[in-house]
């Protein structure tokens, strides 16, 4: 059994990260492609069941394999492969090594059967992904720092929750929980930080666009999706998640509709999409959970595809602002085509992977007669046209070119990666059964009924009509939209600066005071004559003597009372 620890998909990727440090040229490219593929093969080799180990007297389960783990494991390994293929000629070894470690962390979380193991991999992901953000260059340092802080905060919440949960239940095994103790609320909060839930959702749109053209592909895949995976395992059917998810979904659309930067627009679209999945976890019926699993799998690929498109545009033109980009379709036809496929998939158009997965979540809401949730999910579905579903491809690739750009489609490896991802989006859309057999619960759902198809096309077509009619109001404009990160980027800074001023002044006074005393002491020692009575009178010493006496008094007083 322990052999499966060494030959797990996660260790394969870690080995790849190590190998990457020692290879160059062709060998490096071979490593980049081979190890994610090896991980993909190994996903199918993980024996169903658990591997246990001992740490601090707790039975750990480093590997627990079941259907859900298989699905996420396979999708993550596949996404890692697409990412490395896309990044094949990226020169930053640090970024790519971190990317493989990051993917290994995600796979580690997928197979973790207990909270302690999960937490270790969770932190591995946090660190590796921070490094990926850092590799975005000088301008990424601020966002990377904020990213790290938010994720360590999430980690601390999670750790506190896990410690409490273990102390209360005595077991570290990950099971389905109800949030009925402070420890479980803390675990839930820690997971929600990573999923992009309020009040910390701004990290997604802050950090992801700051990464490099290749880095964002990896980032968009793992952190949020692993978090939703753990939510599915630990908190299915927790009602508050429905509303948290819907708020995220609407926030993502609204902010994306206003956004000028294509990669930040995609970051908002990711939050919106995550919101739909979180709401699905909150609904919690087998159909909803199937939908979440399927939608996560589909979203990994189509989000990665759209991010690859944005990365290609960034790499080929050096620009990401919509008001500076337009009409790229003729210069970059393949990229434009890939973008269209990705847009159709994220908008859940029939014959794409988005359609066969998202509809399950909406259907689940309807079956449970959650009218409010259902109406909002439908509205959010239509709203996809406001971000990557229509607005992005339209503004980016069609319309008159703003200026003549001598650009072309990106290099071969990137084109192949985009093509593969696009093919996957369509194949899954046409043959959904290939995805459905991997879902955790038996699937009775039939996506392709005349009614489903027609409803979805009507919804999107008329939403698109509104976008077309209101196109003048939706022109991209320079600027940013203030978000909740204002609280810690502005308000916090103001408070900290005020604090700094106070402590600075205090410290300056202390130092000058001490310096004065030192000078006087020096004189005293040198000349044997000096101001009398200086001994023992420097005020910090006096303060300390006071505290000493105070503590003695307090101790005696308490003793006398006791």
């Amino acid at each position: 059994m322990t052999t499966s620890l060494f030959f797990s998909p996660a260790t394969a990727l870690l080995a790849g990260a190590l190998a990457l440090l020692f290879t160059t040229g062709i060998a490096r490219k071979a490593v980049l492609l081979a190890f994610p593929l090896l991980a993909l093969v190994l996903v199918w080799q993980v024996p169903t069941g658990s591997v246990t180990a001992n740490y601090l007297g707790y039975a750990l389960i480093p590997i627990r394999a079941d259907d859900l783990a298989l699905l996420f494991g396979a999708v993550f390994a596949l996404a890692a492969f697409l990412g490395t293929l896309y990044a094949l000629d990226r020169s930053s070894t640090l970024e790519l090594t971190s990317a493989l470690v990051y993917a290994a962390g995600a796979l580690g979380v997928v197979y973790a059967g207990d909270w302690i193991t999960l937490f270790v991999w969770w932190e591995v992901m946090a660190i590796a992904s921070t490094i990926i953000v850092v590799c975005g260059g000088e301008k990424a340092h601020g966002p990377a720092f904020r990213y790290a802080l938010i994720h360590f905060l999430g980690g601390v919440l999670l750790m506190a929750g896990i410690a409490g949960e273990i102390a209360m239940s005595g077991s570290a095994t990950i099971t389905s929980l109800k949030p009925d103790s402070w420890a479980r609320w803390l675990i839930l909060a820690g997971l929600l930080v990573n999923v992009g839930a309020p009040p910390f959702w701004a990290w997604v749109s802050d950090a992801y666009p700051a990464s490099s053209w290749s880095g964002m592909v990896f980032l968009s895949v793992f952190t949020t999706k692993t978090a939703v995976y753990v939510l599915m395992r630990a908190f299915p059917g927790v009602e508050v998640l429905v509303w948290v998810g819907l708020v995220m979904a609407i926030y993502g659309i609204v902010y994306a509709a206003l956004e000028n930067d294509i990669r930040r627009l995609l970051a908002f679209a990711i939050v919106s999409q995550m919101g739909i999945k979180v709401a699905g976890v909150g609904i919690g019926t087998p159909l909803a959970l199937n939908g979440v699993a399927a939608h996560s799998a589909a979203a990994v690929i189509y989000t990665a595809l759209l991010v690859m498109v944005a990365g290609s545009v960034l790499r080929q033109t050096g620009k990401t602002r919509l008001n500076e980009l337009s009409g790229l379709a003729d210069a970059m036809p393949l990229t434009a085509f890939a973008c269209m496929i990705g847009a159709l998939a994220i908008a859940a158009f029939p014959l794409t992977s988005g359609f066969v997965s998202k509809s399950m979540i909406i259907e689940a809401a309807a079956k449970e007669h959650l009218a409010g949730a259902w109406i909002l999910l439908m509205a959010v579905s239509a709203g996809a046209v406001l971000h990557a579903g229509l607005r992005l491809p339209w503004l980016l690739f069609f319309g008159a070119p703003k200026e003549r750009l001598h650009v072309s489609d990106p290099p071969q490896a990137m084109r192949i990666a985009m093509a593969l991802a696009a093919v996957l989006c369509v194949v899954v859309g046409i043959v959904p059964d290939g995805l459905y057999v991997l879902l955790p619960h038996p699937v009775a759902y039939v996506p392709y009924t005349a009614s489903h198809i027609l409803v979805q096309i009507q919804l999107l077509a008329f939403a698109a009509l509104v976008v077309y009619l209101m196109r003048d109001w939706l022109q991209p404009q320079r600027g940013i939209t203030l978000d909740l990160d204002w609280l810690y980027r502005r308000l916090g800074a103001w408070i900290a600066r005020g604090f700094d001023d106070i402590t600075d002044r205090g410290w300056t006074r202390l130092v000058s005071n001490l310096n004065g005393k030192a000078a006087r002491l020096h004189e005293l020692l040198l000349a044997y004559h000096g101001p009398t009575g200086t001994f023992g009178r420097t005020w910090p010493t006096g303060t300390m003597a006071f505290w000493t006496t105070f503590l003695l008094g307090a101790f005696l007083l308490i003793a006398a009372m006791g």
Partner: protein
């Protein structure tokens, strides 16, 4: 062989003590360093031999000069002090190779030999406190270690070192005086200075003279609290650590406060706890708020500190808060957490201060604003800083996590879940101050001061990396740290009345 084995407890102190005297007669710094290194290297061998003896055969009683207690001085080694002896001697030995260049860089040539003499004297004093079974003898060793510490601090290059040393001298003397008053009160009511003897007679004495016994505890408590820098008696520590020579800071941070904590445990658990009901005494009541205040206030002070050495010094005050919190919990897991943190924190702070010493050696400053981009010019040094810093925060898989884990379990066992929450919350502050250093080191452009800095020579690098490795390693293999600590906690709690 067995003759030497029987003399081991005596040799533990005598070897560095004599070594110090010989070092004082040396003139060349390098020679004194080599001598001090040799002497230091003997001490962990003796300490480990003692630990193994104690582990297999139980406590050792050694009569100094052949005089039986209570008339003569008894050295008594049980698991608790064998553990402390191993910690102090081992960390010192690991650090010694580092000393040569760092000391040569920061102290004038003619004073270096003197510094090593003081260092050996301090080491002898600390080992003496840890090994002796006699209350007054402990006071003597306390003074030996303190006096040599004042001299070491005063040798710092910064002029403020003199003030810091002077301040510490005043306060250390107050602390020692309080301690000796406490011992005197105990002697008055029990007629003995031997720890075991006092413990045996204290119950009776307390019935006859309840007030002096309590007053004695109060004086001992406050006196030792000063030495271990319990909040708010910590004011001497930040300046002393900040302006002392880098090696002295690392050495003191790793050992001196730890030995004071040991003395505290000895008096609270092996004397008062054996004779009286420890939980009825106000020890926990006073320790709780002060420990928690230390964890928060000192950590926040660290966040706003510009000088990295002072930052770590404040962090030390906070970490001592965790140790005393573990003591205050007075249950198996809590006490284990306190003792194991004593061990882990020695490794972590040792590694961190050595890293800063290397920064001082290469860049000549430890002001945060001057250190932009140092993570890129001194990659190994700052990697060590970050790893040890992660251990300090308590990231799982590191030694710091083990400490906090036991403390949290201890708090929950005691039914004090708000305390468990506070432990986690205060760890978050550690994230802030370490994170601030990381931000400057990696994310800022390379500043002028560090542009030509590079990792220090191998002799400095290896001790630093060894301690860093240890502060991660003991997060995975917990046999020596948590295993022994848990056994000690069991013995201490088992011995309570």
């Amino acid at each position: 062989m067995s003759a030497i084995t029987a003399q081991l407890p005596g040799l533990q102190v005598v070897v560095p003590l004599l070594g110090a005297i010989i070092a004082a007669f040396m003139r060349r710094g390098t020679l004194a360093w080599a001598w001090a290194t040799l002497i230091t290297a003997f001490t962990p061998i003796i300490a480990f031999a003692l630990l193994f003896q104690v582990w297999s055969n139980g406590p050792i009683s050694y009569h100094m000069g052949g005089w039986p207690p209570p008339i003569g001085i008894e050295y008594r080694v049980d698991l608790l002090n064998a553990f402390v002896l191993v910690l102090v001697s081992l960390v010192s030995t690991i650090m010694m190779p580092y000393a040569r260049r760092s000391v040569a860089h920061e102290i004038d040539g003619d004073k270096q030999a003197w510094f090593y003499a003081m260092y050996l004297l301090c080491l002898a004093g600390l080992l003496g406190i840890a090994i002796t079974g006699d209350a007054f003898n402990a006071f003597v060793f306390l003074e030996i270690s303190s006096l040599s510490t004042y001299v070491m601090i005063a040798m710092g290059r910064d002029r403020r070192a003199l003030v810091a040393s002077y301040q510490y001298l005043i306060l250390g003397t107050i602390g020692a005086t309080f301690y000796v008053i406490g011992v005197g009160l105990l002697y008055l009511v029990t007629g003995s200075l031997n720890f075991a003897d006092i413990a045996a007679r204290l119950g009776e004495a307390s019935a006859a003279f309840p007030r002096p016994v309590l007053a004695g505890l109060a004086f001992l408590f406050v006196g030792i609290s000063l030495k271990l820098a319990l909040f708010p008696l910590h004011l001497w520590l930040p300046n002393a650590y900040a302006y002392a020579p880098s090696f002295a800071t690392a050495f003191l941070a790793a050992t001196a406060t730890k030995v004071a904590v040991y003395l505290f445990l000895r008096i609270a658990f092996s004397i008062y706890g054996v004779a009286l009901d420890l939980k009825a005494l106000p020890v926990s009541t006073v320790l709780y708020p002060l420990s928690i205040a230390a964890m928060f206030i000192a950590s926040i002070l660290a966040v706003y500190e510009q000088n990295l050495k002072r930052m770590l010094a404040y962090s030390s005050v906070a970490q001592i808060g965790y140790i005393t919190l573990g003591i205050a919990l007075m249950n198996q897991a809590g006490l284990t957490g306190g003792i194991v943190h004593l061990f882990n924190h020695a490794l972590i702070k040792g590694a961190l201060f050595l890293a800063l010493g290397a920064v001082m050696y290469r860049a000549g400053t430890v002001k945060l604003d001057d250190l932009g981009g140092i993570g890129r010019t001194m990659p190994l040094t700052f990697a060590a800083f970050v790893l040890a810093g992660m251990s300090l925060m308590g990231v799982p898989g590191t030694a710091g996590f083990i400490s906090k884990y036991y403390l949290i379990v201890g708090a929950l066992d005691a039914g004090k879940w708000p305390v468990a929450f506070l432990i986690v919350a205060s760890s978050l502050i550690a994230l802030l101050y370490i994170g601030r250093a990381v931000e400057v080191a990696y994310f800022r452009p390379v500043s002028k001061a560090v542009a030509h800095a590079k990792d220090p020579p191998l002799m400095m690098l290896v001790p630093m990396l060894a301690l860093t490795f240890a502060s991660v390693y003991f997060g995975i293999d917990t046999e020596l740290s948590a295993g022994v600590a848990s056994r000690i906690a069991e013995l201490l709690i088992g011995g309570l009345k």
